[in-house]
Assembly symmetry: none
Amino acid sequence: MTARDHDTAAEGTPSVAPIRRDAAASKRRILAAALKEFSDKGREGARIEAIAQRAQVSKPMLYSYFGDKEGLYEAALREAYVQIREGEGELQIASADPVVAVGDLVRFTLHHFVSKPWFIRMLNTENLDGGRTIRAMADAAEIQSRLIAQIGDVLERGAKSGVFRAGIDPVEFYIIVASLCYFPVSNKHTLRAVFDVPIDADWLEWKAEDTAELLLRYLAPGGLGENKGDRP
Amino acid sequence: MTARDHDTAAEGTPSVAPIRRDAAASKRRILAAALKEFSDKGREGARIEAIAQRAQVSKPMLYSYFGDKEGLYEAALREAYVQIREGEGELQIASADPVVAVGDLVRFTLHHFVSKPWFIRMLNTENLDGGRTIRAMADAAEIQSRLIAQIGDVLERGAKSGVFRAGIDPVEFYIIVASLCYFPVSNKHTLRAVFDVPIDADWLEWKAEDTAELLLRYLAPGGLGENKGDRP
Amino acid sequence: MTARDHDTAAEGTPSVAPIRRDAAASKRRILAAALKEFSDKGREGARIEAIAQRAQVSKPMLYSYFGDKEGLYEAALREAYVQIREGEGELQIASADPVVAVGDLVRFTLHHFVSKPWFIRMLNTENLDGGRTIRAMADAAEIQSRLIAQIGDVLERGAKSGVFRAGIDPVEFYIIVASLCYFPVSNKHTLRAVFDVPIDADWLEWKAEDTAELLLRYLAPGGLGENKGDRP
Amino acid sequence: MTARDHDTAAEGTPSVAPIRRDAAASKRRILAAALKEFSDKGREGARIEAIAQRAQVSKPMLYSYFGDKEGLYEAALREAYVQIREGEGELQIASADPVVAVGDLVRFTLHHFVSKPWFIRMLNTENLDGGRTIRAMADAAEIQSRLIAQIGDVLERGAKSGVFRAGIDPVEFYIIVASLCYFPVSNKHTLRAVFDVPIDADWLEWKAEDTAELLLRYLAPGGLGENKGDRP
DNA sequence: AATGAATGAGAATTCATTCAT
DNA sequence: TATGAATGAATTCTCATTCAT
């Protein structure tokens, strides 16, 4: 990706320039189109034709770059993680007060899922498929978010300063955060139909605050018995 | 059909015997097969042929009962909810101590999702599709779980006896429980690949306990701030 | 048909009586339904299902009476001719003045085609198919209209009284009449679209008169040269 | 395509050589095959497979050019009119003596219908279907034959020179001519079966002459009554 | 005798993928 | 390099026809 960015940035030709004869740019357009199409329509629902058209590329072109539909899907899935990781780079919770950091984390994660709906959709698609593709991606681990490190740092500082319990695993904690943010966004439509819950901006705002409180209670030191009113 | 049921049930011979000329039975078999196929392969990935074969029915039969693939999908989605609701009937938390009840609820929900994987898959499929079908299902509300009533009862009793905060909305509380149970089960494969977390029996057992604690902390009276878990 | 009529008339049960257990009545209903369906949708477009439904008969019933779709089509085609012949029985031109009779014949034929559209449609369907079925109908000749005899009589009387030429073949004359009446009715839709001619009641009335004149001119004695103004 | 045309035309080898990668040629072959198939088998009876095979083209090709069976049918119907109109261009009656011209017109029309049987068959098919397609053809009027103009010219000149009545509408006159030529050709098979009339070369020759006489008598000035052949 | 249940054999249409220029 | 032309292999859906009660 760094290399890619370099290509693009160095060229100096603005995006208005003729589309032809720029392999890297074509590839990027294909990737973006594929991400959109696969996340919108799912693995089977996605149409190669649609991707080629959106990317303004001929189908043979596309095949020469990505081999086949499967290859394109894999590339799109990787791209989804790459973009998410890039997005996570924007979060700076390391410098904050641990308690504030938890709130930031929640708000960030929720916003992340809401503003990049293709990510949840790609995850769902991939999991529906039994993780076939991601398991085959050699570099899946590299994809792991540096978020975990930041979370680890926050938890540790919180524990040291006595505001958090010790021994909380950052990955497991992240799973909790992600769970709480993922479910309502992912299941927006069925929640609406079955429970009549509207997952709108207001609800999300409230959700962020409620979740922050939930997490802080979870992290608070002391057992359940003594937990009541522990904080000054 | 009653006679048939008798025949079938009494026979003792498993379904090897050709089941013939029994419309209701055929319909049931088709529905079961459709639920399996749609949840396994998704809306587009599902194959009518496969459903017919699994149901031991010819394709025209299937079409005469359900109209088209879309109609079959809708029937399968409804069937998923029906079966889940039936399953929920087995849960009896109403009689327990509220604190115990929360633990029961978590264990039950987690087990529910794990043991009926087609449910999560159907939900994901439907949400990937923007909820198109469930929105059109006139009786979607009827599908709503009676679980909510039970949860409401538990929360109320807990509040009265002073072990829980008051004002927690049962639907929102259920969303929290569902979120925490859903995410790891639904995203089992990507979690494994990206974070190297194995969502196995041990992990699930631990998860249930940890989640129970989390929820009790969330419900505990007093607390960190003013956020009370009631909807906006 | 006579036998059939007998069955029906003799029974005494009005048509409100239960439909069951009356083979002749069922057969008649099927025939009527088949005639409607085949003439409406054509040989391939016709649906056995639709015929059975319209006739309020089960499909196996229908098959037991008529063998297969082909048999049913043949029966419907014959029925079309039978009904047309019956209709022609109503025409009484034998007693009239030959000149008037020609006018009657034209009006009758035109009205016949317009009011029994299924006839033209069946003829077109059968001819599109190369006459396969009618050729195989052993009694096709019997179907021949007694109209021809009547026409022959009129032509003869006209010739004898000197108002018509002699030597006009009644069949050929009927072909002319039929041609002129058939074409506009059969091709109503394309005429409308291509030539913007509306084949409506007004047009048909005018057509009848114009055709009568055309035929009388055709029948008038004398050659072309002397024909002008021959009549007093 | 121009180059291609050259290749094809110049080769001298008949269509045995695989004609490849020539979209226009493929389209033409498909159209010809569709016209044949639809006119032979009717709208429902026609088989896409058969058309593809006759055109030496794969089915997807055909679909990419014409959308679906309906689109192909429409194209075939239009093609039928286009070819008929082209054929009519060959008729030159404008220069002849009006009386001779009428004979020419009859002979031409009859020959036209006999030698291009697909035209009558397409018309019948379309009218059986209620004119659904031709009504939707935006340019149906453009399809109108320039024949009408020529006929108008002949009638006018005949009227001026006193051999014809005045006030005959060319369209209505054409309808008469077409009627007389269409019916025996279209209904060849049923006429043969029911009236034992053989619509063969001899009969047609006689028919042409008889029809010419009929028309001239119809057009002759003076006459039987007041009906003048002009529209209502 | 009458019919609901069932199906084999197609038919239209789609789509990932490759060819030939 | 780039792409319009082309297709094999499904896939959904239909329909005449028969079975079994």
